[in-house]
Amino acid sequence: MKKSTFLAALLMSLMFILAACSGSGGSAEEDSASGSSDESADAGSEGESSEGSGDLSGEIVGDGSSTVFPIMEIINEEFNAEHSMAAEIGVSGTGGGFERFTEGETHFNNASREISEEEVSLLEENGIDYTEFLVGTDGLTVAVSQDNDFVDSLTFDELYTIYSGEADSWSDVREDFPDEPITAYGPDQSHGTHDFFVETVMNDEDIDAQLIQDTNQVVSSVTQDTSSIGFFGYSFYLENQDSLKAVPVQGPDNEEAIEPTDETVQDYSYPLSRPLFVYANNESLNNNEAFRTFMEFTLENAAAATEESGYVALPEEDYQEQIDQLP
């Protein structure tokens, strides 16, 4: 068994060397051609052979946002319990996932932002039809330490002042705030949360603050320093409510500052609410029994899974509506 694996491996490595030697000439064309033929081969063969354990034929492959991932992992577990088969779900991030989705390598892509125009045109180029599903809502939460007693609300302009690096102390943000040095934290560029903040609050300008890769470190930095401020996904706030204070935020369309709660996030009155998406490949929805069942199952169970993962579910009827709209 192991020997044959090993022999196969050796063989493949020889093939690689051959491919490398011959490939330098007309590579681009070959690339796309072999790419598309692989997919059809994949869909055909693996549907019949490998996944013999479940009661459905076909396989389910997804990738994408790490924000949406916990929701889908919970759904995947439930799906496995019911149908004794499961999807394979990666966490390449929204953008990385779309790269695979536009190549037709995945059946669905989790996204913490809407699909970009570039990605849409790539899909059109490759002749892939897709459907956008909403699975839940996240409220990007701006928070300060529980011990901070002066920040009771912030407007988008004030947030801009803080995160553009213009403010050195809190009194620069609003005159009646004390003259304490301000330290701003946030997740770094690898997070959709960062991009969303830049888009909505910063008018696409760069953030000048302490950007940290691990969101848990953002949370603990804010907790430990009373004159600091940070932002992160709603679930991180829910898990740390004892030590954090969510700051009500006033957007350009709001009359007053709004606190992030399940209700305000769900009805989008909280200005930093953002939708969580799953994009599905239409052809797979129609031809792949397992995947279609999986997407139906996802929409049926998304409400519970979303809340369990620390996000806010959509109104119940919205899920039913999306099930009815399945192509």
Binding site: A9, S50, F69, V91
Partner: protein
């Protein structure tokens, strides 16, 4: 005539002894810095993760519910990965080293190749991930399988093993080599029965370093699209798989506090696998080593 000027010696002896002691202390300090960091890291991790190291943790698949989460799929996946990476990388790189040291003509081209192999060791692992994605995953249509990932990691650690193997082969005394040829042995007999056994300790040291790096590598696997949620284990090298470092990396990012402890537990498991793997390598080294 006096061979040793006793006055001179006793004058400078004190200073030399002090200098010697200072250097000894400095070197000890260097060793301790690394050691202290390592021990702190291990103790901290073990304290965090110990209580979460249960039988359930070892036999459950990954989950976004901390109470159900386990590393079963990830352990099996990582073992599969090593089962592909280890033989491929060892054979290719020991072969390369053998060719470069024993057979290759000494010219500019060989020098150029040698320099580039050393340079390759410094290429970031993400770049190897992109290479694997283009060649193995897409062009050879292996998908995000154990085989594709194993070959990618093999390429990544190739230079480390090649360089250390070259060094090991070069350190075999030329007298032994000449004696073998003098006894009428062919080139192949000399290489296979004399040089290779003599070089094995050095080669295996390289292999240990390289495989330790491969088993903890996350970045190239993320690029290859290796899944994090997958509730089956691979049946063959052509199936997709989970990997322990990716599982750990995913848990670090979760908001729930329990996942921080599960992360620590995952790291302990990774360290144990690493330890077992290296023990086997050291056993082999001691068994085959033949020093001249």
């Amino acid at each position: 005539m006096q061979l040793v000027d006793k006055d001179q010696v006793s004058k400078s002896l004190g200073g030399r002894l002090i200098r010697n002691n200072i250097m000894k202390f400095l070197f000890l300090l260097c060793t301790l810095v690394g050691l202290v960091v390592l021990v702190t890291l291990i103790v901290d991790t073990v304290l965090d993760g110990w209580n979460y190291l249960t039988w359930d943790f070892l036999t459950s698949f990954s989950s976004s519910r901390p109470e159900n989460a386990g590393v079963y799929g990830a352990i099996i996946g990582s073992i599969w990965l090593m089962a592909v990476t280890a033989p491929v990388s060892i054979i290719l790189s020991v072969g390369t080293a053998m060719y470069l040291e024993e057979y290759a003509p000494e010219n500019r081209l060989t020098d150029f190749i040698k320099i580039n192999i050393s340079n390759l060791a410094g290429v970031p692992s993400v770049v190897f991930g992109l290479l694997g994605l283009t060649i193995f995953v897409r062009q050879l249509a292996l998908g995000n399988s154990v085989l594709a990932a194993g070959l990618t990691l093999s390429l990544m650690i190739l230079p480390v093993i090649v360089v250390s193997s070259q060094e090991a082969i070069r350190s075999v005394p030329s007298t032994v080599r000449e004696a073998s040829v003098g006894m009428g042995a062919t080139k192949w007999q000399t290489v296979s029965r004399i040089i290779l056994p003599a070089a094995i300790p050095g080669i295996i040291t390289g292999i240990i370093l390289a495989l330790s790096r491969a088993i903890g590598e996350t970045a190239p696997l993320v690029v290859l699209g290796v899944p994090v949620s997958l509730l089956v284990t691979p049946n063959s090298a052509l199936d997709t798989f989970q990997a322990l470092p990716m599982q750990i990396y995913n848990w670090v990012k979760m908001p729930q506090e329990e996942f921080q402890y599960l992360t620590a537990a995952g790291i302990i498991i990774l360290l144990i696998i690493l330890f077992l793997m290296n023990s086997v390598a050291i056993y082999i080294r001691n068994k085959f080593s033949k020093r001249y």
